[in-house]
């Protein structure tokens, strides 16, 4: 038999903290003044301020979604959170200009190194604002826009205002409303028609301050026939008190465009990660969400695709790893709104120790559509006696020309498998690690090379000490 033990897990790459002086600080707690302060500091147009104030109103009115979600949400104290902290308003364009304390942080996380190696553009967000943003010059000449949210709304309103808040309306849920009220940072990206980015764009989100809430806002518009891959990584130091990260990510894939959005979430275990992500796919467009959740205390994230044009395709590939004290509540939403649209969801979760992972899914196909297809697979692996896993899909299908299949299974690494490998000379921990890597291997291959190596290493680290 496998004898599990509860050894603290090492996931310490992001667990360090340098003291930083902030020039802009909206104080503690949420109020109209805070929202006005953020808007003023950013020197925003009046319509943006209106948008924020309306959102604040919606946020205050909406109840916590605890009628279906976990009660842990009640532990978020909105009054002790700091909603805006920034050192400067404009990101540096060269690495040398980045303030030393921030530079130290990102250098330790390996950001400039990665940029030199394989990225087309990088943005590094430190608490509320981007500290560094750079893109290869030739892309700029082709008309690619890669800026922060403030700059995007100010400099390119003709491009971004049309879609801003349209894929995810403010009132979508309580946390999208909160984000709409106090958003800062994030990436606004526009890819002109026919431009295909050979290398990915990357954003790195870092929470540095204690009791801080990060509310970045991302909007990616891929114009007709263009292609883009966007990657985001996140870390925070381990604080005693909880931290909130609540992002809104909107993707728009116009006719024939392709967007891949890759997330490797490795927040520390004190972060509430409550993120709303949704994409709109026009005719023959393709959107893929590739999502890996390793960190955080509670993650609630259900990337969705609204398949609005004929033959659009949506995909969600997700890996979740829940360790002691973590709840990974992830899933996918596929809303079919045009003929011959297809969607695919593959979700794998691993629960270790006292971890809990949940899958929540939504698939909708109205009756007037023809030839829509969905496939959903969710597999869960339980490692210890104390882990929990749940699956809650909701599937609505109407009409006689659509088809949906959903399958979920829960299993554990069998004693026989471990015994077989031990008998071949592997230690129990090695055998377990091999089994877990085998379980997620086909999904890890979907990540770009640099990330998949990193992921495998992270999973090995997480597994360390969980058996034996």
């Amino acid at each position: 038999m496998i004898n599990p033990s509860q050894v603290a897990v090492d996931r310490d790459k992001g667990n360090f903290h340098y003291d930083t002086d902030y020039s802009f600080d909206a104080g503690v707690g949420l109020s109209e003044e805070v929202v006005r302060y953020i808007s003023e500091v950013k020197n925003e147009e009046p319509w943006v301020l209106d948008f924020r104030l309306k959102a604040l109103d919606t946020f205050l009115k909406k109840p916590m979604p605890t009628h279906w979600a976990t009660d842990d949400l009640k532990n978020i104290n909105f009054d002790v959170i700091r909603y805006y902290l920034a050192k400067g308003q404009k990101p540096s364009r060269t690495w040398e200009e980045v303030p030393d304390d921030i530079k130290k942080t990102f250098e330790r996380l390996g950001i400039p190194e990665q940029e030199r190696k394989f990225l087309a553009g990088v943005e590094a967000q430190f608490d509320s604002e981007a500290a560094y943003s750079r893109m290869k010059e030739d892309l700029e000449k082709e008309g690619v826009i890669f800026v922060g949210s403030t700059e995007g709304l100010k400099e390119y309103p003709e491009i971004f205002r049309k879609w801003f808040g349209k894929v995810i309306p403010t009132s979508d849920n309580k946390f999208s409303a909160l984000n709409s009220a106090v958003f800062s940072g994030g990436s606004f990206i526009y890819i002109p028609p026919g431009v295909k980015l050979a290398q990915p764009l990357q954003a790195y989100f870092r929470i540095n301050a204690e009791n801080f809430g990060q509310f970045e806002r991302t909007l990616i518009i891929a114009d007709e026939g263009s292609e883009v891959m966007y990657m985001e990584g996140c870390t925070a130091p381990k604080f005693e008190t909880s931290t909130l990260h609540s992002a809104v990510v909107e993707l728009v894939a116009l006719k024939g465009a392709k967007i891949q959005y890759i997330t490797v979430q490795n927040w520390s275990n004190n972060v509430f990660n409550l993120v709303t992500k949704r994409a709109l796919a026009e005719e023959e467009a393709e959107v893929r969400w590739i999502d890996c959740n390793i960190g955080s205390r509670l993650t609630m994230k259900y990337p969705g695709v609204i398949l609005r044009g004929r033959k659009a395709r949506g995909e969600v590939i997700s890996i979740a790893l829940a360790n002691d004290g973590q709840h990974q509540d992830t899933g996918a939403k596929m809303v079919h709104a045009a003929d011959e649209t297809t969607s695919n969801v593959v979700s794998k979760s691993i629960s270790i120790g006292k971890g809990r992972s949940s899958y929540r899914g939504l698939v909708q196909m109205p009756g007037h559509l023809k030839g829509c297809k969905n496939n959903t697979e969710c597999d869960a692996l339980l490692i210890n006696n104390n882990s929990q896993t749940d699956t809650y899909p909701a599937i609505t299908v109407q009409g006689d020309d659509n088809s949906v299949q959903h399958e979920a299974s829960v299993s554990k690494v069998s004693a026989e498998q471990i015994f077989y490998m031990q008998q071949r000379g592997l230690s129990e921990a090695e055998a377990m690690s091999l089994c877990v890597n085998g379980f997620v291997n086909d999904l890890i291959r979907e990540f770009p090379m640099e990330y998949s190596v990193e992921l495998k290493r992270l999973i090995e680290l997480e597994m360390e000490g969980s058996v034996g």
Binding site: N385, Q388, P393, V397, H406, A408
Partner: protein, 418 residues
């Protein structure tokens, strides 16, 4: 106008179960009942009266047009004598079945288990509590010796006339190592269709007891059925519940299977064939409390015209329930562009040494299958019927008593023919 006429008018407008007078009137008419039953009725009614207003977003009613199960179309209670019938010669050596009403007079102690077992608690708690408070009939099935009789016991629930509601509160108690086959028929009211049946069934199986239960529901297309059941299965027990629903405008079924003794098995099969604007709202839960138990659930729907089905099932495996093997399958066949199927299969697993899975599919009939049958000389309509028959017979095939299986398959074939 006098006070009295006013109250008559208001009671004619709508028969309100929330009115304290409705209950006190009813309780007075049954003052001869034993005190514990009167207390239980009062307790149920009090809980009903203090139920919060319906929440807009209630997960247990997700996707359900709940108004169709509203109590406002009801103007009175059905005559209990005409709403539940036990077929003669049903009682045999070691097995006894009797009506609730008769037992209250002769052997009230037999019913003392009723208040101790709760309803399924999957959403329709208003119906469950009202049945506790107002039921005047129901059946009690007991087996106390190691008997195995292949011959099924037959109970008929009869749809009341339009506007009336029948509350049936029943109990099955099988002692260790007994085996019983029970057939429950829900029969349409031919003269004045459109009544409501609220049937609450509580089952407790002793160690090694086996219950085979078959339900055939053929109520009128304007009837409403709320069928609530809680099965508690003891060590090495076996319970199979096979359901075929053909009638009713709207059906809400809540089934809870609790495996609380190791080595027990719960087998649940249901087939729904829906037409016009029939609604089948089904909620199930398989609760694994003890180790080494197995459960298997298969729910199949064939929907034509504007028929709608909702399947919401949950497999819940408690921490102690190691070596659980549980399955749950929902398959829907949609034969028109308005037919709609909602599927909410769920898993909540707290033990690690388990094998659990669920599957849900919704689709049309494969055009190739239709083409094949047509090429053999069958009309499109007949081909569709044949495929629907084959599809729905899946859950019904688990009926082990052969004459009953044939009878239920024939009932399905007949309904597809018409």
């Amino acid at each position: 106008m006098s006070q009295e006429t006013l109250s008559i008018i208001s009671s004619m407008d709508s028969y309100s179960f929330k009115q304290p007078e409705t209950f006190t009137h009813f309780a007075e008419s049954r003052s001869w009942e034993p005190g514990w039953l009167a207390d239980y009725r009062k307790e149920c009614w009090d809980s009903f009266a203090s139920l919060p207003e319906r929440l807009l977003k209630d997960e247990t009613w997700r996707f359900s047009p709940r108004a169709r199960f509203g109590l406002n179309k009801i103007n009175g209670l059905a005559d209990p004598k005409e709403s539940l019938i036990i077929e003669e010669n049903s009682s045999k050596d070691g097995v006894s079945i009797d009506l609730f009403d008769r037992l209250i007079l002769d052997q009230p102690h037999c019913l003392s288990l009723l208040p101790k077992i709760a309803g399924p608690d999957l959403g329709a708690n208003d119906y469950s509590l009202l049945t506790g408070a107002f039921a005047e009939t129901g059946y009690l099935l007991r087996a106390n010796r190691s008997v195995h009789s292949g011959q099924p016991i037959i109970v008929k629930h009869i749809e009341p006339e339009a506007g009336k509601i029948a509350f049936h509160h029943s109990l099955i108690e099988l002692e260790a190592n007994t085996e019983v086959t029970l057939v429950e028929k829900f029969i349409a009211n031919e003269t004045n269709p459109g009544g409501t049946i609220s049937s609450l069934l509580k089952v407790r199986l002793g160690d090694g007891a086996r219950l085979h239960r078959i339900v055939l529901q053929q109520c009128s297309k304007s009837a409403t059925l709320v069928q609530l059941e809680n099965f508690i299965i003891g060590k090495d027990g076996y319970l199979s519940s096979t359901n075929l629903h053909l009638g009713c405008g709207q059906t809400r079924v809540e089934s809870k299977g609790v495996l609380n003794g190791s080595g027990s098995h719960f087998e649940y099969g249901s087939a729904h064939s829906g037409d016009s604007n029939q609604l089948f709202d089904q909620r199930t839960i398989q609760v694994h409390e003890a180790p080494n138990c197995t459960s298997n659930l298969l729910c199949k729907n064939v929907l034509r015209n504007e028929a709608k089905s909702i399947f919401s099932g949950l497999i819940k495996v408690r921490k102690e329930a190691q070596h659980t093997d549980a399955y749950q399958t929902n398959r829907n066949l949609l034969l028109s562009s308005e037919a709609k199927a909602d599927s909410l299969p769920g898993l909540e697993i707290l033990a690690n040494e388990v094998k659990c899975s669920h599957g849900a599919t919704t689709s049309r009939i494969d055009p190739q299958e239709l083409f094949y049958l047509q090429s053999r000389g069958m009309s499109l309509k007949d081909a569709e019927k044949l495929i629907a028959l084959g599809f729905l017979s899946g859950p019904l095939n688990s009926v082990s008593h052969e004459p009953t299986r044939e009878w239920i398959l024939n009932s399905l074939a007949d309904s597809l023919e018409s």
